[in-house]
């Protein structure tokens, strides 16, 4: 019943699509979050002392097997300030068509490793997949 999670990440997030490893599942099931649409939402000040805090995390933060993904998600007119990472989709998963646009703001973020993140970014940006464009750095 229990998952072995001693070495597991311990992120925090305002919105997380996909998802933690579901409870009582070992191995986790490959259920993905596709087609989520987030509008006029606030995900700020999410913190973690042992990992990163996300405003909007699209993808699987624990890189579980089987791979869990979040595809074709869209984040519009949302605010994600004062998180470690405002918007992020994780590498190693399948990302197709995730978008964050229409004046969403995501300030005070870090760029880490090969993650697609933004530092003090605002404006229109999109990704197909892992290639982001039209980013304004403020």
């Amino acid at each position: 019943m229990a998952n072995s999670n001693k070495c597991r990440d311990s992120p925090a997030a305002g919105f997380q699509l996909y998802a933690f490893t579901p409870i009582n599942q070992n191995p986790p099931l490959a259920k993905s979050s596709n087609g989520a649409f987030l509008e006029e939402c606030n995900a700020s000040n999410n913190t973690s002392t042992n990992d990163l805090g996300y405003g909007f995390a699209l993808g699987n933060p624990t890189n579980d097997t089987p791979t869990l993904s979040a595809t074709k998600c869209q984040v519009n007119k949302c605010v994600a300030t004062d998180n470690d990472v405002g918007f992020q989709q994780r590498s190693g998963n399948t990302f197709v068509g995730n978008r964050a646009e229409n004046n969403s703001t995501a300030n005070y973020q870090n760029i880490t490793g090969n993650q697609v993140t933004f530092t003090k970014a605002t404006g229109v940006f999109s990704a197909v997949p892992n290639v982001w464009s039209n980013i304004s750095i403020v």
């Binding site: 229990a2 072995s4 311990s10 997030a13 305002g14 409870i23 993905s32 000040n45 042992n50």
Partner: protein, 343 residues
């Protein structure tokens, strides 16, 4: 009473009876008014009744009764099973439930007997208005309000409406045993509506010491599985807390698509011991490979949730989810005990 054409009871006062205080089965018109029942076993049992009204009644205290073939009924203070056209209006089912560990069945069998303080088991057209299932405690898996139908393509539970319900301040004091605690638990109840309800301040505590990561004993304001088209509005599920286990404001999963949650708060849910998961809203729960699809979450707040491991305002692995005008901020993971493997 069994097989009556009409039953009317009012101003009934029973102070501790070792058997069932009020049992009505297979009757056509049942009206119960202004009754106060303190009972050693079951306060009120209704099975197979039609046109059942229970208004302005109090019921409390319960001990396990093994005479019931269904262990869920055995542990309920008030059970309503296989009834049609039911109204429970201002029915308070409060105080103590103390079950016997290790006698349960169902998805949490290993954790001890299941306790539905107020059990709705199958039936149709069931309305609860202004009821309370508060201040209960147990060493077992407990659902303060347990709505249970059949899991399968043909539901045995239809048209359940819960208005102005409170399931607050329930405690799972496990004393070394793991259990689970829900303010409102729905399994196999498609189309259930929760309107203006409160499932706050439920606490699971006293987990065994030395455990690193417990996957048992989670605490939730609302749990719903195998229940499509649930509608939740104006709900409060705040300050649900567990010690060493998962904690959520609301957990919904396992083929429960078509969900709507709006104008609700899921704040300050957290765990206070090692290795736990916390979320205001968790749509990723599930014990089968059956996923869910289709949710609208609108004008909700899930903030200030905290866990030692994973923490989020919203967790979802559903498809086709619309999240609008929500505030999921100040969620915090306080884990510092383990090596980070962020890749």
């Amino acid at each position: 009473m069994d097989g009556c054409i009409k039953v009317e009871l009012s101003d009934l006062l029973i102070d501790y009876n070792q058997k069932i205080s009020l049992g009505v089965t297979n009757s056509n018109v049942v009206k119960v008014r202004n009754c106060d029942i303190k009972n050693g076993n079951h306060a009120m049992v209704f099975d197979g009744c039609k046109n059942l009204d229970v208004i302005d009644c109090n019921a409390c205290e319960n001990e396990n009764n093994t005479s019931f073939p269904n262990p869920l009924q055995a542990n309920a203070i008030v059970s309503v099973s296989n009834c049609n056209n039911v109204l429970l209006d201002r029915v308070n089912v409060n105080n103590n439930v103390k079950a016997i560990p290790g006698q349960g069945t169902g998805p949490f069998a290993s954790l001890g007997p299941e306790v539905g303080v107020l059990l709705i088991l199958a039936g149709s057209n069931i309305t609860l208005k202004g009821c309370q299932t508060n201040h209960n405690s147990t060493s077992a898996t407990m659902r303060a309000l347990y709505i249970l139908g059949t899991i399968g393509p043909i539901p045995s539970l239809n048209s359940v409406v819960i208005e102005n319900h409170q399931s607050n301040n329930n405690t799972g004091d496990f004393s070394g045993n793991s259990g689970s605690l829900s303010g409102i638990s729905i399994t196999g109840g498609p189309g259930t509506k929760l309107v203006n309800c409160d499932t706050s301040y439920n606490v699971s505590s006293d987990q065994p010491p030395g455990e690193v990561f417990l996957t048992q004993g989670f605490t939730t304001g609302i749990t719903a599985l195998f229940s499509e088209s649930i509608y939740i509005t104006n709900h409060s599920a705040n300050y649900n807390i567990s010690e060493g286990a998962e904690t959520f404001g609301v957990v919904i999963g396992d083929a429960s698509g078509g969900l709507v949650i709006e104008n609700s708060t899921f704040n300050h849910n957290g765990s206070i011991d090692n290795g736990s998961i916390t979320a205001g809203i968790d749509l990723s729960f599930g014990t089968t490979a059956t996923g869910s699809k289709g949710a609208i979450i609108r004008n909700c707040i899930a903030s200030h949730n905290k866990a030692n491991f994973l923490c989020a305002g919203l967790v979802s692995n559903w498809g086709s989810v619309l999240i609008q005008d929500c505030n999921f901020s100040y969620n915090e993971s306080i884990g510092g005990k383990y090596t980070t493997t962020f890749k």
